[in-house]
């Protein structure tokens, strides 16, 4: 009696199966989330109701539990979920399926033989949501929503390695708002922030899904473009330059022209690491500034203006 109450009131799904995967117990939690009442499933094979579990891996793990009395764990981190349940009501908008940590373990009979096993299902959706949010926040710049510099560095290490290993091109665009200090001093910081946000949105809109844009410094941004050679990257930078120049930002009915300078570099076999690539793009950006701003420069040992 007490055991049955515990089984039904505990905030964890509990299933008891025999060695042939026939359901012997199905607690109230399982009934609530699965929509299957205990009477409707007891005595039937679990696989009749959840055919996706009838696979080599699940059977192998259950066989080990029945034989060795070990536990096996289907963690949320590796599996997401074992049973496709809808998350509880408040979390439905954010996650399609309830995230679960599931455990399969042995149940000994009085003669010390293992004739049954249990599956416990723990709902960890809320923790996963918070974790995802924290991870996302840790990657993003608060003002613009672009990647922050730390995450950019992490990604560049990976992208650089990938490009080198598979001998694929990788381009970098460093860009900086022209005379930003003057804009800030003339129209105030709030308008300055508005410019930065508008520029960031323009960069994001002009890139592919596989590309990434980061806020590198105050008014400096960095975009990485995998699978893109120098000509391609210069084309992208030029398009971005034109779109920024056409933004048409207005401060108290005064049109404020905003332009940007761009430096483009391509990963080379001779470059030791992503730092060299950053340095090359930065050098090209410096050249673009030096040549009169509002233009794209491509890195070369003797940089040339691509477009004026």
């Amino acid at each position: 009696m007490i055991e049955q109450q515990i089984l039904d009131t505990i905030n964890v799904g509990i299933i008891v199966l025999d060695a042939d995967f026939i359901v012997r117990q199905w607690n109230r939690w399982m009934a609530q989330y699965s929509g299957i009442e205990p009477e409707a499933i007891r005595g039937q094979s679990l696989f009749d109701h959840y055919p996706h579990l009838d696979n080599v891996k699940f059977r192998r793990n259950c066989k080990a539990v029945l034989r060795f009395g070990n536990f096996c764990f289907f963690s949320q981190k590796l599996h997401g979920h074992l049973f496709s349940f809808r998350p509880s009501s408040t979390l439905r908008g954010e996650m399609e399926f309830m995230q679960q940590n599931c455990t399969v373990g042995p149940l000994y009979s009085d003669d010390r033989e293992i004739r049954h096993l249990f599956i416990s299902v723990e709902d960890v959706t809320e923790a996963v949501l918070y974790q995802n949010r924290l991870v996302e926040m840790n990657r993003r710049d608060a003002l613009t929503g672009l990647f922050n510099r730390r995450y950019l560095n992490q990604r560049l290490v990976e992208e650089f390695e990938r490009a080198r290993r598979y001998r694929r091109p990788l381009s970098l665009i460093m860009t900086d708002i022209d005379h930003f200090k003057r804009i800030n001093d003339t129209y105030g910081h709030q308008f300055g922030d508005q410019v930065i946000r508008a520029v960031a949105a323009t960069l994001t809109a002009g890139l592919r899904k596989v590309d990434g844009a980061a806020r590198y410094g105050g008014e400096e941004f960095c975009c990485y473009l995998p699978e893109t050679d120098g000509d391609g990257a210069v084309g992208v930078a030029e398009r971005l330059r034109q779109r920024v120049a056409q933004l048409g930002l207005v401060h108290e009915s005064v049109a404020v022209p905003v332009t940007m300078s761009f430096g483009v570099a391509v990963a080379q076999a001779a470059m030791g690491d992503h730092e060299s690539l950053l340095k090359a793009a930065d050098d090209a950006l410096y050249q673009a500034k030096h040549n009169g701003r509002n233009q794209v420069c491509r890195f070369s040992p003797n940089p040339q203006t691509v477009d004026g």
Binding site: V56, K57, R60, N61, K63, A64, V65, R67, F68, G69, N70, F71, C72, F73, S75, L78, N101, T103, G105, P106, Y108, R112, E158, E161, R162, R165, Y166
Partner: protein
């Protein structure tokens, strides 16, 4: 058996060795049935340590491969402690092949991919469970387990994190070398670590085991 040999009588030490041999023999035979992989387990080597010596011993033992993947799992019965399974890094590819799963993707060079992690954890979990399960079966105990964790080249954290014995603890290690018949390159070590709290029960269980043969 090293230093605090006085903890076990010579007879108890012999029974422990015998029980381990039987348990791991059974584990090996039944693993072949359950996971269709022939796991070769060497004769377990039992050692007793006091405090820091265990520390040094383990760190030294973990140097068998340049880069290691460690699966760590706690077991809790009257016989309790942690199990450590050390794979040479890159073993996950072989294991996936043995389990008949698809090839790994492109992320192999950056450390185990999630598929590789899963394979190590699954095989580690079953291997540890088989060995401890058979041991506790012989000694009439039953055991619960904590979820296995994968530690890549982070065994110092294990030691520093205090998981492996405090300085005044008595440590018992049972070391087994394992390899897979179908993939000879994958050779690793399994350590079962337990401490003084399990000792009196272990001694009793060993004596009961002997008595059961009259």
């Amino acid at each position: 058996m090293s230093e605090p040999g006085y903890l076990f009588t010579e007879e108890e030490a012999d029974i422990l060795q015998e029980v381990m041999n039987i348990a791991f023999g059974k584990a090996s035979a039944e693993l072949a049935e359950v996971i269709d992989i022939t796991v070769i387990l060497s004769v377990p080597e039992i050692r007793l340590f006091r405090g820091e010596k265990l520390h040094c011993y383990l760190i030294d033992q973990m140097r068998f491969a340049e880069r290691l993947s460690l699966v760590e799992q706690g077991f809790i019965g009257r016989f309790r402690g942690s199990a450590l399974l050390g794979f040479p890094q890159g073993a996950e590819e072989c294991i996936l092949r043995l389990m008949g799963e698809e090839e790994l993707g492109e992320d192999v060079a950056e450390g185990p991919s999630s598929l590789g992690c899963e394979a190590l954890l699954e095989v580690g979990n079953i291997l540890i469970g088989a060995c401890i399960g058979k041991l506790s079966e012989l000694l009439k105990d039953y055991v619960t387990y904590t979820p296995p964790r994968l530690l890549v080249e982070d065994y110092h954290a294990l030691v520093d994190g205090g998981l492996l014995a405090r300085a005044d603890d008595v440590g018992i290690t049972m070391k087994t070398m394992f390899s897979f018949e179908e993939a000879e390159s994958v050779t690793g070590y399994l350590f079962l670590l337990t401490d003084e709290s399990s000792l009196s029960w272990l001694k009793q269980a060993l004596n009961d085991y002997l008595d059961s043969f009259g």
